[in-house]
Amino acid sequence: MPMSTNPDGSAFSRRMFLERLGGVGGTALLMAGMSALGFGIESAAAAPPAMSGGKGKKVIVLGTGVAGLTSAYELASAGYDVTVLEARDRVGGRSFSARKGATLTEIGGETQVCDFDDGSYINAGPWRIPYFHRGYLHYAKKFHVPVELLNNDNDHSYINFEKGTGPLAGKAVRKQEVAADMRGYATEMLAKQVRQGALDAQFGAGDKELFLDYLRSEGYLTKNDFKYIGAEGRGPLINPGAGLDPGPGKESQPYPLSDLLKSQTWRTLRSVSSLDQQRTMFEPVGGMDQLPAGFMRNMPPIVKLQHVVEKISQSPGKIEVFYTDGAGQKGSVSADYCVCTIPLSVLRGIDLEVSPKFKEAIGGVSYALVGKIGLQMKRRFWEDDHHIYGGHIYVDDPMIGTISLPSTGWLGDKGVILGFYPHGAAAAKISAMSLAERKAYAIAAGQKVFPQYADNAEGSFSIAWHRVPHNMGGWAQWTEEGRAKYYPTLLEPDGRLYLAGEHLSYLTGWQEGGIESAWQQIGKLHQRAQAA
């Protein structure tokens, strides 16, 4: 960060800036600022606020997704008297792994009972932990929740695009083939232009030769004439091996450029290069419900399940939450403060004593329509027969979105495939189907890629998050207008009510957003409670 200037005209140095950050937000914010300014200290931003001296003040936490559990754990650890209300008969919220016997009745839908084998599961909500989601990893480490790598990119996986044209349309091609060929052709063409001098004006002294070196390297072009004639990385026709047969194996030939372009398969090549999708990607061993379980192991028994919030009322001295419990009994609990992590899509249906401005802001965001299906396969044919270990099968049917292969149970017997992951209008469509129709649709799509798909399909579990009670959507989808008009209002408490969750972050839809939002909000609560 360059030097900037204070209103009084004096230079505002990095150091002054950091000192002020430290004064306002304590060490954590100071360290985060140092990271942002390029000092390379990242980890401190990924720690909960240092809190102690809660002195038994009462706090109600609503919801037991990662935001609620984070709030409850940290506040209880800091000496607050915490009560947690959870609407469901389980903790975790959207951090949910569907296992044998899990039941779900969507609004307007049939009751579904997960019919996987024991030990099989699908992460029906979040499923990926990017390496820089330090808050999640902080708790995984703290609670000894083991993680494993999630293969978020597989060179050997298939792309099966049907909407393109030409001979590759509707044909399952390997991603590595498309990647090598497109890079090869693109760099060859560019190299030709550069060598002909068409771009000389673009280069500083000596840069042209370096750029050509780059193109030749990037595209695996021939040494002297910069031609793309295929690359080992696109995969051989016959793998090299022992002796004379297969001996050196047999090289494959590139697809014609025109066929590749018309197939549209090149659209997949940028798919996992965005920051959120880069390697390293993790998943918890045994399912996404393992971190909530880790919280529960490390907290006093303060969570009340099957307590559905009906109303939140406030008076100058207290906040009171009214609920109906699993036995149909109505009751209430009072406290000094409340941290509410209920999704805004649900909260807008609850009777709240808050300011009109706060109430309007709660209604100012929409929630994502999103669906998933897990398909248990009796044999790991994608590994055994196709040598694809994890990663995604790319299709261009938006009702499928992506097919993803499990990154757990390698070389085992069975496995659960993510059979579809549609969004928006496509998710609306698939969620209008019966459970049997959804399953059939998913199987028909996978069958186009894997001849073994339908014959191996066993149990399934599908979910349409926008139809799930207590969720009513996948995640918050802020518009720019909503961020400006409503978001800041919700970050501040209304009376004694604090909101937290992925919806109050710029990491919407990620568990990390819930965790970091919880840290921020309970930090504010603690500061106020200390001053009170």
Binding site: A428, A432, A454
Partner: protein
């Protein structure tokens, strides 16, 4: 037996019967089935009888906006609103006209049919930026 293997033929026949029961994507010019289009595209949220889900998905039955200016209603289908996705890529103008005509006449609603020309008019000037198709969901 809950974990019975579903053979591909069986799975396909279910898929085909779905497609058969609902002429999913009638060719342009062919009469689109508004009721079936509603079931396929709208009913998951607005519910089978258009009753909606309170404070989550608006009821279409008895809805004054839905029975009002047809161009404004078509605009919502083309562009989405709030949590509702747009159906610009998913439905043809004929299909949008058909499904709106159905919604405006079902469940006690009483409003004039929507002409294809009205959908075309609503589309004018509203063609949003076409995002590259997402090949991998965001989360």
């Amino acid at each position: 037996m809950p974990t019975r293997v579903i053979g591909f033929a069986a799975a396909l026949s279910v898929a085909l019967s779905v497609a058969g029961a609902c002429a999913a994507q009638p060719a342009k010019g062919k009469a689109a089935d508004g009721a079936m289009l509603f079931k396929q595209n709208c009913s998951a949220c607005h519910q089978a009888a258009g009753q909606g889900v309170p404070r989550a998905f608006p009821a279409l039955a008895g809805n004054t906006f839905v029975q009002g200016d047809p161009k404004a209603v078509a605009f919502v289908l083309l562009n989405g609103r709030g949590g509702m996705p747009n159906f610009r890529e998913d439905l043809s103008n004929e299909q949008i006209a058909a499904v709106l005509t159905y919604v405006r006449s079902a469940w006690g609603n009483r409003a004039a049919p929507v002409a294809v020309a009205t959908v075309v008019a609503a589309q004018r000037g509203t063609a949003g930026r076409q995002d590259a198709p997402s090949v991998l969901p965001y989360h």
